[in-house]
Amino acid sequence: MAAGTRLRMPIFTRLCVVWLAVIVLGAVLADFVPGLQDPNHQGFLFGTSKTNDAPSWAHLLGTDNNSRDILARIVYGGRVSLVVAATAVATGTVFGMLFGCFVGYVRGKADAVVMSTVDVILAFPGLVLLLTVVTLLGRRDLVVIAAVVGFLSIPPYTRVARAQALAVSRREFVLAAEAIGTKKRTILFREVIPNCLPGCMGYALVNAAVIILLEGALAFLGLSVQPPTASWGNMVNAARVDIQINFWPVVWPSLALVFTVFSLNNVGDFIRRSRAVRSAAL
């Protein structure tokens, strides 16, 4: 596809990309950022900082009710959100797209079985399902949370990929490949799946936003990664207790969530629109 037909990225969307890049880089390189404090360092124990302190040069966003640096906790807390979202996207895309494209292309009995399973799993409200499975597994560390979220991401991706595959498998190039006697498996991997990929990617970003909100809610309820590990959700929950004293420790992690979710939605929406233009230009 010629570059000229691409939709230009608006300045606002660019800002969103920059924010996402900052969050990702911050989470990955948190240990190496100069001046960033230990997110679990309780300064009041050593007389170096106060609890619920206002922003200052020492603590750019102030301190929380355990006198820990809020900026550092937000940067490290981003790790939890990102790991969970990345696992969800990776698992969802790989398995969901395989299942979805397969049943969307072959149809028939496999389609009926897989889709009714998907429907049953999606009959549970997301947070309730997540909460229950995490509880049953009895462990609340990042690996378990990420694994459960990843597993639960497969059904929605399957549904999206199937819808894409249904449309793609009626296109001329698939019919042509069938007409010249190409094997079904080859068509699935060479024609159907590559053409479903862009649509799934747009969905992946939007889904990552949903997952981040879901994990945030779980953490807020105190059922995600356990303190002292920082996550944006449990920061809001911890700060809630002292809201009469200091409002800002609630606001900062909330803002981090809002910006991240907004950016993911915005960029995902942009990818979806630019793809619509490209398919119209075909």
Binding site: S116, D119, V120, I121, A123, F124, P125, G126, L127, V128, L131, T132, V133, T135, L136, L137, G138, A209, L213, L214, G216, A217, F220, L221, G222, L223, G233, V236, N237, R240, I243, Q244, F247, V250, V251, P253, S254, L257, V258, F259, V261, F262, N265, N266
Partner: protein, 335 residues
Amino acid sequence: MLRFVARRFASLLAVLLAVTALAFGAMNVLGDPLFNVVGFIASVDCDAVEAGLVEDVSGQTAGGRGDCEVIAEARREHHLDRALPVRYGYWLSDIVRGDFGTSFKNELPVSDVLRDKLPKSLLLMGVAQAIAVGVAVPWAVAAAYRAHRSFDRASTVGSFGLLAVPNFALGVILFYLFVVRWQVFDSRYDDTDLASRLRSMVLPGLTLGLPAAAVYQRLLRTDLLTTMQEDFVHMARAKGMSDRWIMFRHVLRPSLFSMVTVFGLSTAGMIGGSLVAEQIFTIPGIGRALVEAVIRDDFPIVLGGVVVVATGFVVVNFVVDLLYSLIDPRVRADD
């Protein structure tokens, strides 16, 4: 129509069967079935007690039953030596008759606990949906009426922004503003009469309703813009009817389809949100009971709560499906 309803009802029952089977199966495959019904005493080693190697401590208290007696009785009562599908059958016939087992915490029947909590959660859902629709309809009409002008642009950014706010953050911020700072509302749930109950539901209702309103506004605005291109709207305008009359009497009703469709879907988000909102605003509903039960490992409540919530969600979507086919007969024809 009757055949359509009957077929949908059959598929509703099938989904409900599958949903309960999944919940029960997950509970018993991922968790310990004995623990699910008796709680922590499941870890008592009854073989060792019978062999006299360990004393059954609780059996020695005045006339109390030994843990092993309780365990043996639970094994009999819940058919724990039978295969999983058989146990599912027994369990299903129990819950159909309203027997969800007994809570570990206070030995109350789970059905009583649920019956006590469910109305509050339903009221919350109702208030939240009412707020969502009440906010979304005028908002969308105002935005569509002057589409692509400043108000519409601002409300597009506003609704995307609102969608990005996590419900727990929205709840905490509303709590801070209206309870802590301006003291408009009480921090405790007031259960004296309907008026005070509704008053206690305003803030949690906003917490759940505002994000849903943003979704509704986006959809309704798009549909309104489409409808406004129709000939009958131009006709009405040519006849010199007032804009307000045209928007509300001619344009609004045919534009409600998408909103009705996502009504069911948005319920899922609200159920998730109610876990959070009931926690923040201390409403003794199903969501709060579920979270507390999860923290305490009170599995009978967890299982009962999950089954009730999932059933409610499936039924809501069933009703929305029917409503939708009432509004738009083409859905029946497609089926």
